[in-house]
């Protein structure tokens, strides 16, 4: 054990002095969530603000009709109204983006309304996603005007307006904050944790195996009175630790991002804080531990069969999609943790994390997840020790 610790301490010190390890293990995971949260919320806010205040150019062809609506429109801030635009001209101005909207009231509009019919309006626009908020501003005006007309009509008919409301549906959402959060971010969080766990393991595993072979230091190490399993466990320990630390640092980054970015709604902060409890964090890390061993086994096995650092990088690169796809599938709606999905590595961690965030973890299914992860981790460790015992794999 003393020898393993000697190797572990040396490998850890060596890895932590490697800038690439520090970047992938600490800096990227720590900054990823704050940057993502900060940029996204700032972008959405500034987009909405801009859309609300942008001056809209609205063409109007109403004749003598809908006087109240025209007045309402003209009184609006940031809406420039061009009256008496002819139909063909208005359509052309929309097509050439000279107008944002063109509203045409039927020439008999007022009569249609007064005869208790439907007033016809043609609303010309170019509907794109980025104009959604601007269009909504005009649609709200239509809604307001329609409501006004409806009230007038019911007063004229001497009727109570509530008689048209045949149903009264009160929607009461009983989902807990955790469940709401699981729905909103339950997919992306495990995806990020798994990714960081993999990325954190990647550089140390390349450096401690292929890198050491390439530098010629492995041969020297193998001539010391230490058995190969001790060397392997020492190296393994460092790769597992860096992988799990990377995921843990990303959790810390999430906490800091939520806590110190002022533009995040208070309700969202409360929801995220509710999963960042010691108990939930421990369960998440306990899932990531066997996954990290699984990654370390795979990565070190590949790295030991590579002659150089670059060769190991090129062999490990194609593994990324293999890791990302199951993690990504876990984000999809309708994917649930059950006895079958609990057996699929990576996907099971992704889905189990979602259920933990939602506070709905089923003990028997979670047990299957843990058992399967331990089996995969054991298999990866076995594969790695077999690779490390091959002369051709460890000597240049």
């Amino acid at each position: 054990m003393k020898t393993i610790m000697t190797i572990f301490r040396k490998e850890l010190k060596d890895s932590l002095r490697d800038r690439r390890t520090i970047i992938t293990m600490i800096i990227v995971p720590l900054l990823m969530f704050p940057v993502m949260i900060g940029l996204t919320s700032r972008f959405i806010m500034s987009y909405e603000e801009k859309a609300q205040v942008r001056e809209l150019k609205v063409g109007l062809l109403a004749g003598e009709n809908a006087v109240e609506f025209v007045e309402m429109l003209v009184e609006q801030e940031n809406i420039l109204v061009f009256e008496d635009i002819q139909l063909e001209e208005g359509q052309e101005l929309i097509t050439s983006d000279s107008l944002d909207a063109f509203i045409v009231f039927h020439e008999e509009f007022d009569r249609q309304i007064s005869e208790l019919g439907q007033g016809e309006i043609d609303f010309y626009l170019k509907e794109t996603e980025e104009r959604e908020i601007e269009i909504r501003r005009i649609m709200e005006l239509f809604g307001e005007y329609e409501n006004m007309l409806r009230i007038d009509r019911f007063e004229t008919l001497n009727l109570d307006i509530t008689i048209i409301e045949t149903l009264s549906v009160s929607q009461v959402n009983l989902a807990t904050p955790k469940e709401k959060l699981a729905d909103m971010v339950g997919g992306i969080l495990p995806y990020m944790f798994i990714l960081f766990c993999f990325m954190g393991s990647m550089y140390p595993s390349i450096d401690l195996a292929a890198g050491e072979k390439e530098r010629g230091t492995l041969e020297t190490l193998l001539t010391s009175p230490v058995n190969r399993l001790q060397i392997l466990i020492g190296k393994f320990g460092v790769v597992v630790l860096t992988g799990i630390s990377s995921a843990a640092v990303s959790l810390l980054g999430l906490y800091l991002g939520i806590r110190y970015i002022s533009s995040i709604p208070a309700e969202f902060i409360d929801m995220v804080m509710s999963i960042l409890e010691p108990g939930s964090i421990l369960i998440l890390l306990s899932l990531l531990l066997p996954l990290s061993v699984f990654f370390a086994g795979l990565l070190l096995s590949i790295s030991f069969t590579s002659r150089t650092y670059k060769e190991a990088q090129s062999k490990i690169g194609p593994l990324f999609p293999v890791i990302i796809i199951p993690a990504f599938i876990g984000m999809m709606p309708g994917m649930n943790l059950n006895a079958s999905t609990a057996l699929i590595p990576i996907l099971n961690v992704s889905l189990a994390t979602r259920t933990i965030i939602a506070g709905q973890a089923d003990i028997s299914i979670m047990l299957i997840v843990y058992l399967s992860l331990v089996v995969y981790a054991g298999a990866a460790l076995f594969l790695c020790s077999k690779t490390f015992s091959r002369e051709s794999a460890i000597l240049q």
């Binding site: 020898t3 000697t6 190797i7 040396k10 010190k13 060596d14 002095r17 490697d18 530098r215 010629g216 230091t217 041969e219 020297t220 190490l221 193998l222 001539t223 010391s224 009175p225 230490v226 058995n227 002369e391 000597l395």
Partner: protein, 257 residues
Amino acid sequence: MIVVKDLYKTFKLAKKQKKEKGSSCADGKVHAVSGVSFECRPGRVFCLLGPNGAGKTTILRMIATLMKPDSGSIEVAGYDTVESAQKVRAHLGFLTGSTKLYDRLTTKELVKYYADLHGMNNTDFNRRKEELFDLLDMNDFADRRIGKLSSGMKQKVSIVRTIIHDPDVVIFDEPTVGLDVITSRSIIDLIHRCKSENKTVIFSTHIMSEVSSISDDLAILHEGKLLYNDNYQAFKNRMQTGSLEEEFIRILQEDKS
């Protein structure tokens, strides 16, 4: 003491290598070492001389327990290299020309690491470290990272790393390849020092001048087979040509024909 008896080692070729070798390697195997036997005694320098690809590194790697022989046996300091590999490694130091060090560790950290792997206690380590650091004038760069040292300084660190645990047997595998004259000199001095301390020294090279300056016993290896194995003085007495280099070439050509 090293005792090598009837040693064989074969390597399987990869597909690409088979194509490159063609009909010269019909069975898809390379017989790197074939029936080699010799003894290296304490207080003497045993020189393993052979051209590139003769099998020198393979033999030294088997002695250092990095590889297992297909058949035959090796005893180092009384321990079998297969049965008691760890005990063998505890008694030997291994230095090759291609040995690199951990660039991100300091000189002191690196030497301490190997001392710890050899199970040295702190008192023995400090005494031995001070002795070697003074001898090789290394105190000025003891706390500097290896990556920032000159190649001469690195070679000194390699030497200390090899003998920090005061091994009975020291293996040098072409240790001066690619080194300048001054750095090579430090290796030759180390070999003399090991000999004077009654250690068993085995030294592989293809540089003739090194053989003549340090060799007590000599073995000539060609294509995995020993062509000569006796003391160096006897070799010199039996030479049929004017120089060691010519004699070496003559022996290899005789073997080929």
